[in-house]
């Protein structure tokens, strides 16, 4: 065990891996800082770039992007009041007022420090919890796995958006689409329409790039096409100016000490929220901010430019990053959209997440943990050194950035299969994603269901074979019964919850 951990960590700390993590973090911060672009989109486009890398380097690179993008969202949130990603919404509450007071750099630095701390905290929890969790999960057979997958699918209810019916339709269609291709038991072709390229199923990468990246860009192109941009959307409006007063540009030791309790509390909140699939970092940010405000002796100062507000929001939303990987790695259940895309990338690189991953790929996973810890420090250094550069990045006009991203979408989808068919699929999914966004169908539910669908079907089919077509035998398996009860509780809980609170914006 110790050998595995040390070997894994040793593999993580190579110059090449460090460089790729640096590159990932840099790309992540730059992308996350640009309003409208986000981490999952950047990871989806970057997955094809990892084909020439080993599994550890590839996943470390993608995790670097994820971590960087998480902080990147705070840059535009603080400087131009537009959250680079949804999770940074609560960062705008105090970040932007601080910028208006000439303390933009102070706000950004506090966002960076608290983001890195929250992320580091949740990584430590991930490292301590994931492996024991997976050992427990090892006692599960196909029946238990099926019950677990059913339980996981109920978490999609948290991501359905404003309309539960529409969200469920999107999720069920995601599962339906995942049945295209040769079925895993008898290799029977299903809805391949005679196309050999569909026999492996619908390309996950074409689907993710099309629905996440291309459709989002199309929405933004349309906003410019109709000339109805709102606010300083095409970049900075000159509000970011450096104050000549040194104290306005740094976080003092006293300020850090004052915020530390809040950062600790928010990190714990974010870690718990992140470990529960489906709840999302946006909710964590709001809860962290709300808890800090309730605990404060001067709650009336929140929203007026209080440094503690920035720290609370950023520590909480960043603490979901590592925690999201607990269910992803140990159970194969993606905690959120970024984790879902990372799950896809793990599968593409031959690592199947789930209870066996620590047995089959233990070295790589401990290497990944090492890389995640390193990525936090790299995030700190690159963020600290490049704050002014990233502040400039958000001023780049969208009409230059977005067309180039569309070009990257084409290239990314092509290199997966080297076929024009994947490009056609990507375009088709881009247009479908555009329509789904317009009609308020949840893309997140669709993608997560597409990933979980085959696992659920395989587990059910194996169970039916094992039990000789007697599903009632499931009731003789205590762990399966436990998950069925949890599924029922989960359905009850989500049916009572307000969808808009649980919604994970895409």
């Amino acid at each position: 065990m110790l050998d595995m951990v040390l070997t894994g960590l040793g593999q993580a700390f190579t110059i090449y891996n460090m460089l790729m993590i640096c590159l990932g973090v840099f790309i992540g911060i730059a992308v996350g800082a640009i309003p409208g672009l986000n981490g999952p989109m950047a990871i989806a486009i970057a997955v094809p770039l990892t084909f020439f890398m080993g599994p550890l380097t590839a996943i470390a690179f993608l995790v670097g992007i994820n971590k960087g993008a998480n902080f990147g969202g705070a840059i535009s949130a603080c400087l131009i009041n537009i959250p680079g990603a949804a999770e940074a919404i609560s960062t705008t509450f105090d970040g932007y007022p601080l910028t208006r007071k000439g303390k933009g750099l102070k706000a950004l630095k506090m966002a960076l420090y608290s983001s890195v701390y929250g992320d580091f905290f949740s990584d430590i929890v991930l490292i301590c919890v994931a492996a024991p969790f997976a050992i427990l999960a090892l006692n599960m057979g196909s029946a238990e796995l099926f019950a677990l997958m059913l339980f996981a699918l109920t978490f999609i209810a948290a991501l359905v958006g404003r309309s539960v019916v529409k969200g469920l339709i999107a999720a069920v269609l995601g599962i339906f689409l995942s049945t295209v291709g040769l079925d895993s038991e008898a290799s029977t072709p299903r809805m391949t329409f005679g196309e050999i390229e569909l026999e492996d199923g619908v390309s996950l990468l074409a689907l993710v790039i099309g629905m996440l990246a291309l459709s989002e860009i199309l929405i933004q192109v349309e906003a410019n096409w109709h000339n109805r941009k709102e606010g300083p959307g095409s970049g900075g409006d000159g509000i970011y100016k450096r104050s000549p007063n040194r104290d306005d540009n740094v976080v003092t030791w006293q300020e850090w000490k004052e915020c530390f309790r809040t950062i600790m509390r928010s990190s714990a909140i974010g870690t718990v929220i992140g470990a529960i699939p489906g709840l999302g970092s946006t909710l964590a940010g709001f809860l962290g901010y709300g808890a800090a405000k309730r605990a404060s002796k001067t709650p009336e100062e929140f929203g007026q430019g209080k440094l503690e507000g920035v720290a609370a929001a950023e520590a909480a939303n960043s603490a979901t990053v590592g925690a999201n990987l607990i269910p992803t790695l140990a159970l194969g259940i993606p905690g959120n959209l970024s984790a879902a895309v990372l799950l896809g990338a793990l599968i593409i690189h031959g690592l199947t997440p789930g209870p066996l991953i620590f047995q089959q790929h233990g070295t790589t996973i401990y290497g990944l943990f090492g890389a995640m810890l390193v990525a936090n420090f790299i995030n700190l250094f690159i963020g600290q050194g490049g704050l002014r550069f990233f502040a400039w990045v958000i001023t780049l006009p969208r009409q230059y950035v977005h067309p180039v991203i569309v070009l990257m979408c084409f290239c990314g989808a092509y290199v997966t299969t080297q076929s024009m068919f994947a490009l056609g699929l990507m375009v088709g999914f881009g247009l479908l994603g555009y329509i789904m966004r317009k009609l308020d169908y949840s893309i997140v539910a669709f993608i997560i269901a597409f990933i979980l669908g085959p696992m659920t079907e395989d587990a059910l089919r194996q169970t039916m074979v094992l039990f000789g077509n007697q599903p009632e035998m499931l009731l003789r398996r205590p762990i399966a019964i436990l998950f069925f009860i949890l599924t029922a509780i989960s359905i009850w809980r989500f049916s009572k919850a307000k969808p808009q609170i649980l919604q994970e914006p895409t």
């Binding site: 770039l49 339906f176 809805m191």
Partner: protein, 138 residues
Amino acid sequence: MVAFGLLVIFVVIPIWVPGHQEGNYGLRAQDAPYLTMIVATGLAAVFFIRRLFVDKDGGEPAPIPRESWVFLGVVAAVLIATLVLLEYIGILAGGPFVVAVLMVMMGERRPIPIAVTAIVAPLLVWAFFWKLLQFPLP
């Protein structure tokens, strides 16, 4: 959505998913597609009926406005033209086309920035994938 669901249930699945099964146990290959599409169609029918009789005045977001359909038609044509260019000429033709057209659609009117971006960006992407990573592009 209901019509699409019925089409899939009664036409697509029976034709494109073999129903026979070897052995006498387990689920058929048809079962998962049938189950999911029946659920999706049922939910769509519920939604349709609710919109028709319960939420007559909305409550749900408005349907896609006409100008968005026009935009979708234009952008679909641009993307399909890009696919054709990529298929028959390659990235160095399809790339500049899609970048230039999207820049114009996003409001850029100055020819020099459009030309420079449309030429330099695909060249850099091509050099990165093809020359640096050795990944062939179309």
